[in-house]
Symmetry: C2
Subunit: 334 residues, 2 copies
């Protein structure tokens, strides 16, 4: 049954979020493109274009390795890249609390411009709303994005077959821990920086390798566990992950232990999970390692026939089921 009121868990990227999407939005907005539930909508426009949106409510708005502006550009660039599209155009819509320091807005806007330039996308349209003091917490940014789909791109979370290889581009949990460690009320501080980065170049390198790419997703809210469970569910396969192959920084592991978190559930903003045909896996990894954001790319597992579940072989040789987060881990991570 649905809850009466919106809970923080409804924004978590976990099970409660999925229920909200399935029970409310997918029922109300019955469009076949929306129904695919990929990261960006692919719409006809002469050429095929991809279209996506995300709002950013991260708190604090400045954190090691980035800020809400950089995040807002990277997040939408990455959603387009994950659909196989070449990101081209970005919108920028601000909801700002009255009294917000202008210098902070300038820093954020400059960060967006710099990130857009680095990613090779143009910010072409925008909007600004201001609400009274207390009407919003500092600043929220929505970015929507449009990308062009080249002929080769036919990636979807529902395309995975038994035997396919699962590749991860680098260490997990960096963004979530960077944000959490600076958030008020948490007294420790790690040296971890957010991995926030535009991944379109990395994805382009992967496609240029000629590998048969089945599915792509950036494991943001809900973490690696969320992405793998979505893949398993939408393709109807088991995914088997080797824990020893998944890079986790020592400081991230330490912070997760202190906070009682599973790093597989912690958000990333500069990582990609790519599923490719088994025969192409080595070539895909080699191509990804040529990009600055894929230096640590590695095969972390494979798909097999079976229940749509994710199994992790632990360092001690046992196997655990890696489930999706139920509700909210910590809100406002992106």
């Amino acid at each position: 049954m649905m809850e009466d009121r919106i809970l923080l868990a409804h924004g978590s990227g976990g099970k409660v979020s999925h229920r909200l999407i399935d029970d409310l939005f997918m029922k109300a907005f019955t469009d076949p493109t929306l129904n695919r539930q990929d990261d960006a909508a692919v719409v006809e426009g002469g050429a095929r274009i991809a279209f996506t949106t995300d709002s950013y409510v991260v708190k604090p708005i400045f954190f090691p390795g980035g800020d809400i502006g950089k995040l807002a550009v990277c997040g939408t660039v990455n959603d387009l890249a994950m659909s196989g599209a070449t990101p081209k155009y970005i919108s920028a819509a601000f909801i700002i609390e009255e009294g917000f320091p202008f210098t902070d807005l300038k820093t954020i806007v400059d960060s967006m411009a710099k990130t857009a330039e680095a990613a090779g996308v143009a910010i072409v349209t925008g909007d600004t709303k201001v609400v009274e003091r207390g009407g919003a917490d500092q600043i929220f940014i929505n970015t929507a994005g449009v990308g062009i789909l080249p002929g080769h791109a036919e990636v979807s979370a529902s395309n995975i077959s038994p035997g396919d290889a699962v590749i991860l581009s680098g260490s997990i949990g960096d963004h979530g821990i960077a944000v959490m460690s600076t958030r008020e009320g948490l007294s420790f501080r790690t040296a971890i920086e957010s991995d926030c980065a535009p991944l379109n170049g990395l994805v382009a390198a992967l496609f240029e390798s000629g590998a048969s790419v089945k599915a792509l997703r950036d494991p943001t809210r809900g973490g690696l566990a969320g992405t793998l469970n979505e893949f398993a569910a939408q393709s109807g396969v088991s995914l088997n992950v080797d824990e020893t192959a998944v890079p986790i920084k020592a400081q991230v592991n330490g912070a997760c232990e202190m906070l009682g978190l599973d790093p597989y559930h912690v958000a990333n903003e500069g990582k990609v999970v790519a599923v490719v045909a088994a025969d192409d896996a080595e070539k895909a990894v080699a191509a990804m390692r040529t990009n600055e954001y894929g230096r640590e790319a590695a095969i972390i597992g494979a798909a097999s026939e079976g229940k749509p579940r994710v199994y992790v072989k632990t360092m001690v040789g046992t196997t655990r089921i890696l489930d999706m987060l139920i509700g909210e881990q910590l809100p406002r991570i992106c």
Copy 2:
């Protein structure tokens, strides 16, 4: 000089808003498409497509004649239509305060779906963020939109020439007064309903008439005065408006008098200002009147050589300069 902090006036659509856009955003995001400052970005994508975004923070979220969801779909459909595009695809991104009633969210989402269907657009992608209690005021919605530009469409606020006719589709001030009259703290209540409506059909009828359409804009924040001043400034012409030709409902006039507002500054959400070649004006008006949202369409003035200003000939025969709003009239009208 720029202010240190964001003021409500920065979101008003008036002069302070324009300064924020010019001094901050246009300097940071130096894209030639963005620089045109039309309602939607026109981007290349095989076919030419239009791309726009708007966040909606209206308070109260339910008001006579509509709700935040209907407004969010109409507003973005209308921005696309004003660029001459046929609206096709909409995104829907929600920022929701923890504790928001689920039934209200359902009402809003259903309203969006119904409005999208009526407008003939598909909601193809979305996002949901939830912030903690007090982190946002109930619910904010961002919609971005993509439309296809037919060959004939070359409309821009900078295309107006001396002699062109200015057409208004109907009465002004209805949306703003409907929202203000229900807002907490204002004790009167009018029978006025918001004019919130999708205008793509009306614009299509105008184009089908074969009239040479120079500029189109929906006079939302900043009202009719804002739109006319933008037209005058961007085209470098004077605009001369005949007050007796501008329809204003008696209740709207009465409410404006009570509140000390000029109806020319009050927001509309279902009206269009169209500038067409003088010879096509009658045919354009006739075509607009065939659409349910253009029954009261009328020529209200004309462009002439002169300073980029808006002059209103009043009912008593005098002429006044109609200026843009300086700051915020009442915040959160859309």
